[in-house]
Symmetry: C2
Subunit: 216 residues, 2 copies
DNA sequence: CGGCATCCGGGAAGATACTG
DNA sequence: CAGTATCTTCCCGGATGCCG
């Protein structure tokens, strides 16, 4: 379905202006954030974005489809359900999301008591991963955050995160999304339950460094 | 004047969600872009953002003031006019703007025939500056794009751009904003008039490299 | 004239209900 | 489960007017 261009375009060839035409509508960036780690169903997205209404989600997804950011596809039988998936180019917005998110966290108005989203914390792992500290390390880590499962692969100083079963991981962290922040960024190892190879798990928790709070 | 929080907040501690609360409203990022290279008057901003209405500009500026992104100050006499100026933290959004803009330029929908804004091209210089190519180079370059003047300082592989008089520059480029794109990124040296030290000017034009268009 | 405030119309987003 | 449909609210854009 073709959705009419929702907001008037800016008369400006600037990349920033065009970015706003692509992803500037309300909820847009948060929908993309939810798609960073793999395809998702409509109801998953709705559940993970508390406050979004079905009609707005429908709009954002079909606009993104028109704009080449998202693809809608049907999983093979027996699943046979529709999923939404970011395109290659759509996924490339990750770097901008990370930069923007890190900037915003320095706001005096940031309210860290709000609920923490699973995709958000998994993205923060990528944002604050220190590839120097990961030299010579290679492992698969599982994360079980409520119902949601993620697999993190570290290799050659690179980190990769995707949704998927945690079985087969060298070590698995289980708990609430906030626990990830506690363990990786605040050195509180008990905020998540750890199973599997403890040495690998411990070493992994040391691979993150938060940027110094700017003097401002 | 205190402006009531315009849009309901997202119930999400994620940095991206907070970024949207800070700068997600229409025209917001473009207003900030205009403030990247120095303080500006209300009427300057209005003139440089064709299509924005005074009331929306008023809103964005006072919201940004409330949020600590922008400061309003009065220039010393004899000027004695009000100017809007990005705070330190506000200026730090530059990196996110560059990442986002470069991403958006890869859109198949990008229309490069639209008018080009002076701040936009000056920002593109920072975005595509290759510090390796600038090793051992030190100069002040002037840019006269219509009425607007910018000074670029290159030193120790760093580039700095601000609004200001071009007098005292080692070399000065004069022409339309599009000319900057032609000269620096497309190797068309005649798209701008050059005065001053030609060797410095030529060398400067070689210091930019556009990222390869992603395969997509 | 610069720097807004105000009023109005259109349209996007929110709330809720409903359907295949 | 995956969306529509409808109604309401409120932001944005455009015009106009005020005021130092």
């Amino acid at each position: 379905m073709k959705v009419t261009e929702s907001r008037r375009e800016f008369d400006d060839a600037c990349g920033i202006a065009h970015a706003l035409e692509l992803i500037g509508e309300r909820w847009g960036l948060l929908v993309l954030r939810e798609l960073l780690f793999g395809p998702r169903r409509f109801s998953d997205l709705k559940a993970d974005l508390p406050g979004i209404t079905p009609s707005v989600l429908t709009q954002r997804l079909s606009e993104f489809e028109d704009r080449g950011l998202v693809r809608k596809s049907r999983l093979p039988p027996p699943a046979s359900v529709w999923v939404y998936e970011a395109t290659e180019w759509g996924l490339d917005i990750e770097a901008a999301l990370i930069t923007l998110g890190c900037w915003a966290l320095r706001s005096p108005r940031h309210d860290s008591t709000k609920p923490v989203n699973a995709s958000s914390v998994m993205l923060s792992l990528k944002a604050n991963f220190d590839s120097v500290k990961a030299q010579g390390f290679r492992a698969r880590l599982g994360f079980r955050l409520g119902e949601k499962e993620f697999v993190v692969r570290v290799e050659d100083g690179e980190i990769e995160v995707r949704r998927g079963e945690t079985s087969g991981a060298d070590a698995t962290f289980t708990g609430a999304p906030t626990g990830v922040v506690e363990v990786m960024f605040r050195g509180a190892p008990d905020a998540l339950a750890i199973e599997g190879d403890m040495a690998i798990a411990r070493r992994f928790t040391e691979m993150f460094s938060l940027p110094a709070k700017a003097a401002q």
